[in-house]
Symmetry: C2
Subunit: 869 residues, 2 copies
């Protein structure tokens, strides 16, 4: 088995074995670039190291020794040689970049003898400085001694000498520090600092392997879905010194601007400095363009290498270089991280430059990149001055600031008084708050997770939202919020960053999102590639229009109940709910009919040529009734009934578990007149639109079906009502069902006998398959994820193992009965890339998601398609 690779033996394709950094170092060597020589201990060794109780096998040790010999030969230097010592860096490098998460040791190979000898030939200040840095790094990384122990000694020396900066230390100061550092080491380790470079090296390699499992690396992997079993490689490389003299330096350079994507070299450097100094921020680095004057040859060579590497990797490169005494060395290259905006511009530019094709361009842009393009953001520099209020969940992305109000009603009043910049802050939201949420620039809630009512609705509206701000205490009576640090009163300005889940005090400058030409071009690549349909969840004209602008191919879910919250409508709707007999109910429904119809006409007009899936009334009726005593009193007055009768009726409608209560098709089965009214509204609207020349494709969707007879019963009502409404005229429309109750999935073959389409409601299906109420699951989901019981929140990422299995099997069952059945997914996970990949493989026809997530879903769909081939 080969465990250790010389830089000459590897290439860029060997990331899995060599890690990203190692593979790219090899690749640069192979195309002849100036890279200090070295070797890579493979990721395989990392795995073995853990399997063998944190030890290296003889075979691995032998291969490392052979590579040391080879490296000595190549460099003409020798480990431990007094006059020409080999000094190396030992760096981690995993398959996927984990910047700063693991450990590095520089200047390895030094000992007293070498340092004494070198200090006579070279700048002794430089050589002692290298040595003291090595001792403290080694102590920290290999032995795990607290860095502060060494920092304290350094600080004391500076204090005694009354100096501020490290570079003010003299040669003797540094020599003294070396000796103090070594004593400290001895004190902590109970042994001398190891002088044998080989001992140093093997200990350093093992320490880097161990750093794969330090806390921050584990956390980073969890955050970035990097498997624990990958392991890191270790790169052992000859040292070069940017801090050797005034003809030396070090820097970072990008082949294009990572912020804007502009095709122009971008970077910075420091002369007479090591990488650490750039990071420390003591001296301000200079723009890369100034290097042209300082070291014109090096600059020209760097530009040439940058161009070459970009063409070689066919992507924007992020490179590290060091100039040692006038000679340029490349220390790293990798595909550069970039902003969403830059990602799109670079992908489109590279495609237009002929370097990559459309599919490659698609793969260069992540769904997160697209996400950032779709929401307004705070101006970072302005944000720096704001007082931080609290963190919560980044429930709906985007930034918004305005005056804070504590009820939907107060928001409405302020809005009607001409106030446009409004923030709604609530303990939690309920469907009654929708109008207020719609008027607000952003929403804050104290309770509720990523899939709470506030989060779901806000994402649907594209309103920024931070949910679960548990440190806030809202006092509805005093109209104020208490936070750790003070109190915010009604009407004060707050800034809500839904992208990062943070709330600040005051007004912050906001940058509006814009869909640039590059973005448009990029989306055309996506549309050319993807096969999965992407529709929008949209309940009104405005959302539908926005969805269409963002590329929706129809409406996959129109929640008719959202049409009832207008003040003029809610009264009729409440009359309907509280009707004591069918006549009164029908009368109230007749008042609602024209509104619904009108809304549907507008939807059909916007979605000309595209399908529009309209779902029958879904939530339990009590959600539409007032909760506050004063509201109940008002309603009683309006309805001309006694407050106690009304209170009683409301009590009767109350449910223990509304999620599993009298809702969905159960409502229409108890009150067929609701189904009749909604059918009539849809059919009349479609006919009106059709007469205006609109190409209408209505799909009538029955929610919460768990038994085919439910669908059969309602289908007959829909068909009869449609026939009566059409009165001989012709209209094509479909009747289908949501599959969102586990029983519906289990019996999908039976249900397919009556359904022209299924729309998998993966929100409710997830709730019921797991038995998790999404409004309550916040109480334990974090624990579940932290304890490794779940990998992710199943309301955000489809649970492929369980819920996904039901969906896939139901799809197969449905198609076995009706091979042309249309299959869609309208849950929140409909825009999640992993979920889309799975759904695409399950042969789902379309997903439906919030308008703002449509480009994201499309991109994921295109990638899923590329992935298939």
């Amino acid at each position: 088995m080969k465990y250790v690779y010389s830089f000459k033996e590897g290439n860029a394709k060997m990331r899995d074995v060599l890690g990203g950094k190692g593979a790219n170092l090899c690749e640069m060597i192979s195309i002849g670039l100036p890279v200090p020589m070295g070797f890579v201990v493979s990721t395989e060794v990392c795995k073995l190291y853990y399997e063998n109780n944190l030890s290296l096998s003889d075979e691995v040790v032998n291969q490392i020794e052979e590579n040391i010999l080879a490296l000595e030969k190549t460099t003409g230097k020798k480990f431990g040689d007094k006059t020409n010592p080999l000094l190396v860096s030992v760096r981690s490098g995993a398959r996927s970049s984990m910047p700063g998460m693991m450990d590095t040791i520089l200047n390895l190979g030094l000992n007293d003898e070498i340092v004494n000898s070198l200090s006579e030939k070279m700048d002794p200040r430089f050589i002692y400085d290298c040595y003291r840095r090595f001792i403290s790094m080694y102590s920290d990384v290999v032995r795990g001694f607290n860095k502060d122990e060494f920092e304290k000694i350094l600080e004391k020396t500076k204090c005694d000498k009354n100096i501020k900066y490290d570079y003010e230390l003299t040669k003797d100061d540094l020599k003294d520090l070396v000796s103090k550092f070594k004593n400290k080491y001895k004190e902590l380790a109970n042994e001398e600092f190891p002088s044998d470079p080989k001992v140093q090296l093997f200990e350093a390699i093992k320490a880097v392997f161990r750093s794969w499992n330090n806390e921050r690396a584990i956390f980073y992997r969890k955050m970035n879905n990097i498997p624990d079993e990958w392991g890191t490689a270790v790169n052992v490389q000859e040292m070069v010194y940017g801090n050797l003299n005034e003809k030396s330096g070090t820097g970072v350079v990008f082949s294009r601007n990572p912020a804007t994507g502009e095709n122009k070299l971008y970077g910075e450097y420091l002369m007479n400095a090591q990488g650490e100094d750039v990071v420390a921020g003591v001296r301000t680095p200079k723009g890369i363009e100034t290097l042209k004057e300082v070291m014109p040859d090096c600059y020209d060579e760097l530009v040439k290498i940058c161009n070459l590497l970009e063409k070689h990797y066919l992507d924007m490169q992020d490179m590290e270089f060091t100039i040692e005494n006038g000679k340029l060395y490349m220390l790293q290259t990798r595909n550069g991280k970039r902003t969403g905006k830059a990602a799109v511009k670079i992908a489109v530019d590279l495609k237009n430059e002929g370097l990559i094709d459309e599919k490659e361009a698609i793969l260069r842009v992540s769904e997160n990149d697209i996400d950032t393009l779709l929401h307004p953001m705070f101006d970072e520099s302005d944000l720096k001055n704001k007082e931080f209020v609290c963190s919560g969940l980044a429930a709906s992305p985007g930034a918004g600031c305005g005056k804070v109000y504590f009820s939907a009603e107060d928001v409405k009043k302020a809005y009607e008084n001409g106030e446009k910049d409004i923030i709604l802050a609530r303990l939690e939201t309920s469907p009654e708050d929708i109008e207020g949420m719609n008027m607000a620039r952003a929403v804050i809630t104290v309770r509720g997770g990523m899939t709470s009512h506030a989060a779901v609705v806000a994402r649907g509206m594209g309103t920024p939202c931070v949910s679960g701000c548990e440190s806030l205490k809202i006092d509805d009576e005093k109209h104020e919020i208490a936070y750790d640090g003070g109190v915010i009163k009604e009407g004060e300005y707050v800034s809500v960053d839904g992208t990062n889940g943070k709330v600040y005090l005051g007004k912050t400058k906001t940058e509006e999102a814009s869909i640039s030409g590059d973005f448009e071009e990029f989306m055309s690549y996506v549309d050319n590639t993807k096969k999965l349909g992407v529709r929008a969840n949209a309940d009104n004209y405005r959302d539908a229009k926005r969805a269409l602008e963002l590329g929706a191919e129809g409406i996959g879910l129109c929640r008719t109940e959202h049409m009832f919250f207008d003040e003029e409508r809610i009264f009729s709707f409440r009359k309907m709910i509280l009707a004591s007999d069918i006549k009164a109910r029908e009368k109230a429904l007749n008042e609602i009919l024209p509104y619904q119809k009108d809304d549907f006409v507008k939807l059909f007009e916007v979605m000309n040529g595209f399908p529009v899936v309209i779902r029958f009334l879904d939530p339990p009726l009590h959600e539409f009734l007032p909760k506050e005593e004063s509201e109940i009193e008002k309603l009683a007055l309006d309805l001309n009934v006694s407050v106690s009768d009304l209170t009683n009726k409301i009590k009767q409608l109350k449910e223990f578990n509304p999620m599993m209560g009298h809702r969905g098709c159960r409502l229409a089965i108890t009150y067929p007149e609701i189904a009749k009214m909604q059918t009539k509204a849809i059919i009349e609207a479609a006919m009106d639109a059709k007469k205006k020349g609109i190409d209408v494709h209505p799909e009538i969707m029955v929610p919460l079906v768990g038994e085919v007879k439910e669908l059969k019963y309602l289908k007959e009502i829909i068909k009869d009502t449609a026939k009566e409404t059409l009165n001989g005229e012709k209209l094509d429309f479909m009747i289908g069902t949501m599959i969102e109750v586990p029983r519906g999935a289990v019996l999908a073959d039976e249900i397919a006998k009556e359904a022209e389409f299924f729309s998998f409601g993966t929100n409710d299906l997830t709730q019921m398959t797991f038995g998790y109420s999404r409004d309550d699951a916040g109480k334990f989901l974090n624990d579940y994820i932290n304890k490794g019981i779940l990998k992710s929140n199943p309301f955000e990422k489809l649970d492929i193992n369980g819920v996904g299995k039901l969906v896939k099997e139901a799809a197969v069952k449905g198609r076995s009965i009706n091979k042309n059945i249309e299959l869609g997914v309208c849950g929140e996970q409909g825009a999640d890339p992993d979920s889309i990949k799975f759904l695409s493989s399950a042969n789902i026809n379309y997903v439906s998601c919030s308008p703002y997530r449509i480009p994201i879903a499309k991109l994921a769909a295109a990638k899923a398609e590329i992935d298939k081939n």
Copy 2:
């Protein structure tokens, strides 16, 4: 195709074709009993009649005509013959007895000519009476004219003549009535009354077919699970007349006493009367034994026939007979309906008489029979005098009366003041009410279905309960209930019949249930036959003991949370819930530990040698916290925290859908210290019991598992804690899980890798598979059943199609990984016979149900076993 059968052509096995009555008439003919001759129009014709738009095919008509000819030949009488007319009865008779649900016409074949002619030869009073009865029956049954039209004429005549009873009418009165009835018919029908006996006959046959679908027949079938498609047969039989003269009579006789089972002829008769007269109750029938003196020959013949029929059918017979002018005719025999007590006695007696074997004996007793034996009942005669208050759902069988109270607290106070006869009436119950429910003789709730909290808990306790009494209005403040008819104040007596779902005013005599020797013997047959295990759901010593007495083979579900409601315990438990850190929580748990341990020791002692399945804490914690302000204030005082802090904490724990919230294993995962305490209590208790010589078989059950990692995580905690607790000592115990979340069923193969047993929690599995909250589903389940969308309440009868499919597949998946895995079911449906039959076929090892339902479950299990062979 043969559609019509002479009585000589059929036998008892042909029930499906001939209906029960027809098949038995044929059978009696075939064994030579005196039965008036006739023929049967088969059930097949009924189906065809409906398929052919309510008409009879030519073939059927021909076969009927042939049978009329044959009947004329056999009887020597002729349809329409003036001197020797054939008169027949036309009666319904379905495969399964539907007493009184369908229509009958007697005396068919009469017309003016025949009546005039007969009135010269026979008692004219008798013949006119027959004729007027025929006209009104025909009008009612064939034409659907309201009976009252004819009753009014009769009443007017009686009024005019100033007489009270029909038999006081003279020949002329009756002749006059005939003429008035015929005029009324003409007026209503717009045509003359048909005089042709064949026309009469065909119309009557069709009318009987139509009566299969009258409202009460449809309702009866729904109640008794009789398929709509069976149809009825029609029996056409020569009339015999018990009212011909003083040597005639009619009666009903049982071969054994249907109330007690005593092996002694039982019945009653009336001389000079028709069947109608017995029913009308105008004259009081005499005991059958007196017939011996009145007509000794007939009596002896009847006794002989009764014995013969019982031996022939191997079951107690219910027979109708008529004596016409001294000659005995048998008109019907069927297996007699009987009380539960009689059913058991008859089955055991028949077995001991050597007529049937154990298996036959088992099949002779229904689960309902057993049910009635297990609960106290009201004395029927005493109940007659009570004022009816309301009907509700028969949620938990048995009868109880006492003084009514409106809160668990008031019940407790009364109980502590020495009051033992207490009724608890609540809007609905919650876990806090358990203690009060336990002290009450019966429970009434206004809201909630058959599977509401009150119903489930009451059934578990064996406390009678009537739930869903929606007509009641409880006024908690005034401490009174308003019902349709008055107001009941706190402390007044009410009588609650949970077997029939009725509530009465006042105190009613109650008969206690007793397990007689016959019952014990019968259960030994059951135990010899059944294979399915039957365990009890029992949470305390008392229930466990009762369960053992009733034949439980272990405890299948001990809900540990029910152990926390004692006053001294709930405080520690609340401290645990409200603990702000793990230390405080552990401290509170340590206070609970000795109680739990003590409870478990007792359970093990009672269940010596049997398994005891103990479930970890399951309900959401907020269920244990007080809801009333005053209670919260008290708790705050006890806990030494501020009321507002406590209120806040309680608010935070509140859930939107507690059923799907922070409960089950989710609690133990968030708070592993709870799992540790419960494990410790179980293991310590088992060791203590073991040391006393008890044979202990603890099974530790983790609830609500949907993901194998949940079980894995907790299993480690259980194992570690057990190891620590055992401290080197040995104890066999099992660790398993409930399968009650759909995901758990879908992924049962994965979960089986970590589980030694599964217990299917079909209550929750039904809730989540359907998406029905059982506390709320009452709002639509009735509609669903009435509209034919569901056949039955899936919380009472397992939904074999959907939930059952998940159970069956999960069982197969579980066994595929671990072929010895123990599979149980502990949902409410565990005692439902149909569900047991299904579960038995799915190779489940045991069911677990309320103690009171154990004998029922065992019987169903035995029948399922017999059914397999």
